[in-house]
Amino acid sequence: MLPIGHYLFLGLALFIIGVIGVVTRRNVIVILMSIELILNAVNINLVAFSRLYGDVAGQVFALFIIADAAAEAAVGLGIIIAFFRNRETVLEDEMDLLKW
């Protein structure tokens, strides 16, 4: 059995890739995909610690997060389509109405 550190590094790598994607990419669909990466990084951490402590609650949480990610993707894509119909763009730096 692999030590816990390997799993945590994989989770950390996925998390950092996701965060960089969210912060740097302009396309909202890519940002949405990056959020999925972050969520999966969390899942890996939860499952790893569940194995380490022999407590199944962490794996149940991971399942919840998968369901939540699916719902979040559906809502997010819906918002993007609605927005595209109005503004004909999916680039986030053009979505600048929420300012002072």
Binding site: V22, V23, T24, R26, E92
Partner: protein
């Protein structure tokens, strides 16, 4: 033996037939073909005539003293308790009921009979006109109203018919409403009649509070005890000496009713509408403004004869107004050039004769003249219509002439009618006019003299018309001459029937006619008739009769010399008597005087009230309120702008000022927010690592 039978029990059907077709015409007529309109409308009047004939036949089969049939359909107005002028409280009702007695028999036969003939005539006359269904709808509505008027068993229902015929008169005078003169004439007729109607309705109200009833008589009713008539109330009042002959209330009622009669029957001073009413189609002039509606006033006075006979003063007024109208209108007829205008003034003059008869106490003679006049004046108007038809719409007799050969039926029947109205024996007009003049002589020879002169003038102007239209040479232009043609059969057959009636209409003799009407005449408070009236053919009467024949012939001879042989030149006479001629030609300037005295004063009042409205109501009231509202809103606007908005703007400005550096962090792009969150989280985590390791270790 009381009269009974199918027709008497169904009296209400007589006015109902024309009402049904009138409603059909006015609601659906536009979609009906002309043939259907003719059949329905003329047929309904024909049915009314048949039913009227049946009812009268059944009525006269009874003995004279029982010749009353009364049929109440329903209680119409029940205002309940009413206080009489004596202070008694009584229960007052007006019913919707029909009364047939000798008087209304004569009227209903004249109205339906002459009306039926004129309806047939209209098929031909109106055939080429637009609004055919509308014309017949109005005509049938008129028949309904007129039949309601003559068959009503009380004054209020009579008034309904009275107003109905006035309305139809207005509608039909203004039939060609696109012509301003026609719509003006309609309005004039309606407004002048309103003045008379005001008198009539006051008379009805005074009758109601004096006698407690407005039903003419209770004879013929089954439930007599509860329902007294005016006649019975009068008898009772006389029996109890509550009222005596000559009481002021009789004079007041009689004069008020006479005001109504003056309006409807075109007597001085309310006659001015009738000449203008000639703007309507000619069958309308014949039916409404010659034969039936204008005689409603005469009928009403005869119907109320019980009250008139108790007021000698009112009788004098009626006689004088009648005779003055007769000569006044006849003098205007002498010089008119419009064929229908001559006939209109002639109608006014003849109505004056009828009122002269009524004023002289010869009610039967008045109704007799009403009947014969309906025949020959309807014939004259229809003949004139046929002449106008032949002349392509020309009405000026100066442009006619020589029509006798070309339109023979019209010319001959017109000639018969002219003889009848002139009073040549043995035609109808002679008998009735002679009787009126004889009775006028009995009352006062002065009345007779005026009537006598009028008779001469009547013969003159009638034959002036005859000689200028049907004899001599034609003065029309070539186009019109070429077009002259006899009218279709639908027009000539009524002419022939009316011509026959104009000849034989008076043969019953006024004596027998008077006997027939006797049950209707009141004997309350009237001294028994002096013996000399009963004894016929006294020397005076024969002399008077010869005199009226002589004056008629003299009138015709003058007309002949003036307009046929031209031995006297009418132009020369007109020039020699220039001033008088001008006054006659301009109809005594009565229209101008009325305009100056009443019409323009009413307009002035209207202008004054209009100015009051503009200056005071609009100026002070409306504009003032408007100014106040504007001033208030200006104040309110100032408050709103500087105080309310000012506070708001102040708050907003302060917020803007205070948020100066920070608000630039809000870029609107969420990647910058995400970066800020990340940095914040990193700082937070670093802080936790440094200072809160105790807490984290504790969680382990």
């Amino acid at each position: 033996m009381t009269p009974s039978g199918y027709f008497l029990e169904h009296l209400w059907l007589i006015p109902l037939f024309p009402l049904v077709t009138a409603a059909l015409m006015l609601f659906l007529g536009r979609r009906l073909p002309n043939a259907a309109v003719s059949i329905l409308c003329v047929g309904s009047v024909g049915l009314s005539f048949l039913f009227a004939l049946g009812a009268v036949t059944q009525l006269v089969s009874a003995d004279p003293e029982y010749r009353v049939a009364q049929h109440i359909l329903f209680e119409w107005l029940t205002p309940g308790q009413m206080q009489l002028s004596t202070g008694h409280l009584i229960r007052f009702t007006a019913d919707w009921g029909y009364l047939l007695d000798p008087l209304s028999s004569v009227m209903v036969l004249v109205v339906t009979g002459v009306g039926f003939l004129i309806h047939i005539y209209s098929i031909g006359y109106m055939g080429h006109e637009g609004g055919y269904y509308r014309f017949f709808g109005y005509m049938n509505l008129f028949m309904f109203s007129m039949l309601t008027l003559v068959l009503a068993n009380n004054m209020l229902l009579m008034f309904v018919g009275w107003e109905g015929v006035g309305l139809c008169s207005y509608l039909l005078i203004g039939f060609y409403f696109l012509r301003k003169s026609a719509s003006d004439a309609g309005k004039k007729a309606f407004i002048v009649n309103r003045i008379g109607d005001a008198g009539f309705i006051l008379g009805i109200l005074l009758t109601a509070v004096t006698f407690g009833t407005i039903r003419f008589t209770s004879v013929g009713l089954t439930n007599v005890a509860a329902d007294s008539g005016i006649r019975q109330a009068l008898e009772a009042a006389f029996g109890s000496h509550a009222l005596a002959a000559g009481a002021p209330v009789f004079t007041t009622i009689a004069l008020l009713l006479f005001v109504g009669a003056c309006g409807k029957s075109a007597q001085i001073p309310l006659y001015v509408w009738l000449p203008d009413a000639m703007e309507g189609p000619t069958p309308v002039s014949a039916l409404i403004h010659a034969a039936t509606m204008v005689t409603a006033g005469v009928y009403m006075v005869v119907r109320m004869n019980a009250i008139y006979q108790l007021s000698p003063f009112a009788m004098d007024v009626v006689a004088v107004v009648g005779v003055v109208t007769a000569i006044f209108a006849a003098s205007m007829a002498l010089v008119q050039n419009d064929i229908k205008k001559v006939l209109a003034y002639s109608t006014i003059s003849q109505l004056g004769y009828m009122f002269l008869a009524l004023g002289a106490g010869a009610f039967a003679a008045g109704i007799f003249h009403l009947m014969t006049h309906a025949f020959f004046k309807a014939l004259l108007f229809l003949g004139a219509g046929s002449v106008i038809h032949a002349m392509s719409g020309e009405q000026d007799i100066q442009k006619m002439g020589g029509l006798g050969d070309k339109i023979q039926v019209t010319a001959r029947t017109f000639f018969v009618a002219a003889l009848a109205i002139a009073g040549i024996p043995p035609l109808a007009g002679f008998f009735s006019k002679d009787e009126i003049l004889a009775r006028a002589f009995d009352k006062n020879p002065a009345l007779w003299i005026v009537g006598f002169v009028t008779a001469g003038m009547t013969a003159f102007y009638m034959f002036r018309l005859v000689f200028l239209t049907i004899s001599g040479y034609s003065r029309a232009d070539e186009h019109a001459q070429k077009h002259i043609h006899e009218s279709p059969y639908t027009m000539t057959i009524p002419l022939i029937i009316l011509a026959v009636l104009s000849v034989i209409g008076g043969w019953s003799g006024s004596g027998r006619f008077e006997k027939f009407l006797e049950p209707v005449m009141s004997t309350i408070g009237v001294p028994a008739a002096p013996a000399k009236v009963v004894e016929a053919w006294s020397a005076t009467e024969i002399l008077l009769m010869l005199g009226s024949i002589a004056v008629a012939i003299a009138g015709i001879w003058f007309a002949y010399e003036f307009y046929r042989t031209k031995r006297f030149a009418p132009e020369l006479v007109a020039r020699k008597m220039g001033g008088f001629y001008r006054v006659l030609f301009h109809k005594y300037y009565v229209d101008e005087i009325y305009d100056a005295l009443f019409v323009n004063r009413t307009k002035d009042l209207g202008t004054l009230l209009g100015q009051f409205d503009a200056k005071v109501i609009d100026g002070v009231g409306v504009d003032g309120t408007g100014w106040l509202a504007r001033f208030g809103s200006t104040l309110s606007m100032w408050w709103d702008k500087w105080i309310i908005d000012g506070l708001l703007n102040f708050g907003a400005k302060m917020t803007q000022l205070l948020s100066f550096p920070i608000r630039f962090l809000q870029t609107g792009t969420f990647s910058s927010y995400a970066l800020l969150i990340l940095v914040g989280l990193a700082i937070l985590l670093a802080y936790c690592q440094q200072h809160l390791h105790v807490v984290l270790r504790g969680a382990r």
